[in-house]
Symmetry: C2
Subunit: 458 residues, 2 copies
Amino acid sequence: MVSEFHPSKLALLTDLYELTMAASYFENNMFEPATFSLFVRKYPPNRHYFVSAGLADVLTFLENFQFTQDDLAYLDTMEMFSPTFLDYLEKLRFEGDVYAIPEGNIFFKNEPILEVTAPIIQAQLVESFIINAINLQTVIATKASRCIYAARGRSLVDFSLRRTQGVDAGIKVARASYIGGFGGTSNTLAGKIYGIPVFGTMAHSYIQCFEHELDAFLAFAHTFPKNAVLLIDTYNTIAGAHKAVNVAKKMQAKGEKLRGVRLDSGDVAKLSKEVRGIFDEAGLKDIMIFASGGLDEFKIAHVVRRGCEIDSFGVGTKMGVSADAPYLDMAYKLVRYAGKPVMKLSPGKITLVDKKQVFRILDSDGKFKRDIIGLRDDHIEGASPLLIPVMAQGRMLGRQPALTEIQKHFLKEFKNLDERYKVLEGPVEEYPVTLSPRLQELQDRVEHQIIEKELGES
Amino acid sequence: MVSEFHPSKLALLTDLYELTMAASYFENNMFEPATFSLFVRKYPPNRHYFVSAGLADVLTFLENFQFTQDDLAYLDTMEMFSPTFLDYLEKLRFEGDVYAIPEGNIFFKNEPILEVTAPIIQAQLVESFIINAINLQTVIATKASRCIYAARGRSLVDFSLRRTQGVDAGIKVARASYIGGFGGTSNTLAGKIYGIPVFGTMAHSYIQCFEHELDAFLAFAHTFPKNAVLLIDTYNTIAGAHKAVNVAKKMQAKGEKLRGVRLDSGDVAKLSKEVRGIFDEAGLKDIMIFASGGLDEFKIAHVVRRGCEIDSFGVGTKMGVSADAPYLDMAYKLVRYAGKPVMKLSPGKITLVDKKQVFRILDSDGKFKRDIIGLRDDHIEGASPLLIPVMAQGRMLGRQPALTEIQKHFLKEFKNLDERYKVLEGPVEEYPVTLSPRLQELQDRVEHQIIEKELGES
């Protein structure tokens, strides 16, 4: 267990090669400005767009970037770094500029999401954290948006905490799934940190602590006379539903009200209709039905397609780890150094050179038509630039939007993305993204120069 | 970004239903001891065993369990909890007993890995964290062990930090992959926290900051005259290898030594042989060859099978998120309350009742032969119990083993697991795990009682 999670203590959360490179830049007096560009190289299976998330963490990290005395003492024990370099690290802060696509926006492969310009050492050392933060939250916000699409208006709650990949993921999944349209989370700490609505019912263990299931229901209703949601599948869902009717009527008699029931196993589409029937017949039309258990966008879509009487889904593990696509091929690549555009030629991993901008062209009805990746100073008639300046000289620019605003913005944008890119499975023609003529020309020129320079000399 | 990661501040990292249940137990004066059992319900694709990891975090969490004033103030704002319950939570500490399979052991599906016995509220509230911690590290240690098996003696280093699911995962993956047999990590903070060996070379960006690749190699060698590992695929791997020879000879002339090169793209099996040939021909037999780029156990096995001259693999994303099996169906279930064994009947989710023990029977040559899940107080001739007491009345028992010891223990155990359970792909007959006669008898009796009691009354 570690206590090193505070943003001002995360400078050492970096791949060692960032530090060995930094040491060598330092020794070679290389302090020129560098621009790194963050982008996703390709779509994972069944993904045709991405939802940007994680920027807030990156900005907090950059603003607080500094090595602690402990960090420096540890680096010293490695016997790789000179005392002058360690002195330099002690004073090092992040003083760069950042352009980024704000959280809650939709973007596509190869489009820069974030570009950092800073003296090379600063821009290099922050690589591992930047990818880590934006990769995770983008993976999850994208997965969550697919669940939202599948649920066709039913509300979704994040139930994934227990099987997210660690503590930080547990908290960030609650945040990112909320950006992607979820209504809340079961994660109490995330609720406290982010002000996200928190939901909770009961587990099977609660039922099992009582002599009879009915006793458990009555005791829980007694504790929560307005908010009780009863889990009815511990022994048999239909028998549980009849007991819930019994409880609801007793509550009614006292002026109380049963909020709902939860189904957590079996054929929830079919069961929900039977349970709805039992409640309706008893005149209990406003008892809500929640469903959970191994859900993801595919299973939600299946349940919805078959017809169901489910008001809200609790979505757990498979969303919380994005089980079918648990990472993105996201890279942070040097695109400009000391005033010159640069690229590498490694097979299958070519990067777009220089400081860039993403331009989006909308249809007359406001729908996304196509994107153009251009140079930062390109001007493209009738197109809106997606990257905006979010940090200058190491300080955040402007007010950070509230999470509810980010969600609202995302849901608005999501409406403007054509249905064809939202299909959950099967082949889809990619959303059109092209390069501006100036970027294409520069790209070709730099590639040509490098081939001449490097592959002529070997 | 959050600062709530310290173990003494994680009590609120719990699903809200743990708190609503606790409130109801409190109101109903239910403080009897409960036993919860942690186990994995089924094997993910291509897994036939698990490597236990994550216990150290759980014990630290339990020993430090307490709600902060901030937590209580937040819970109060939810308007769900009574002031007397919040007062109770303020004083609440974990005072239970824990049995567990120590870290670095091999276990199988349905076997309890950990059993908590504590007053019901305490045992219930810690559920989310316990599953979260043990699920992640067990997933990763298991994945790492598969990579180790595939590498056939070549050393592996964790390169996954940038794409692990968050900060905590980045650190825990370094730890858990080390338990699973890795030689080190690129994650500098994990190195500092756990004393794991840390490795780092250079990135493409370093090369690109120089006018020529050769200039970059020479500058890096100058900074690290004993430890330099040159990345040679930025423009062309073979051309890069020839430049590395040039650098190595210049270093030799000065009494220095090039440690190695890294291949990060293309057909690394084939390239490694070509590069080895170039070095050997130049009389540079001890330059090491490292390989990285999209590796997992399947790709490592493929490269090794084709023949390669790779001394060490850097294994990143696919190991760090366990891409093909990013979670386990791990559950923490009530098995005993107030002196009585309990179970639920939800379809496909039946639990083994009561306090248990796992017994392992070895062959005459020390190989694992079969396991028996029994009652805690079963005695099985010639079998060793795997669960040991690790916490009593909320305090850890005995010394926590060093990470190197855990790794050593795992590697010894792994030798005793038959090869057939280590195959990377394809169907495998499951390792034999049976129930002891006493457990089977109790299981049947409790199931029968519940069916009578619950399904007779509806």
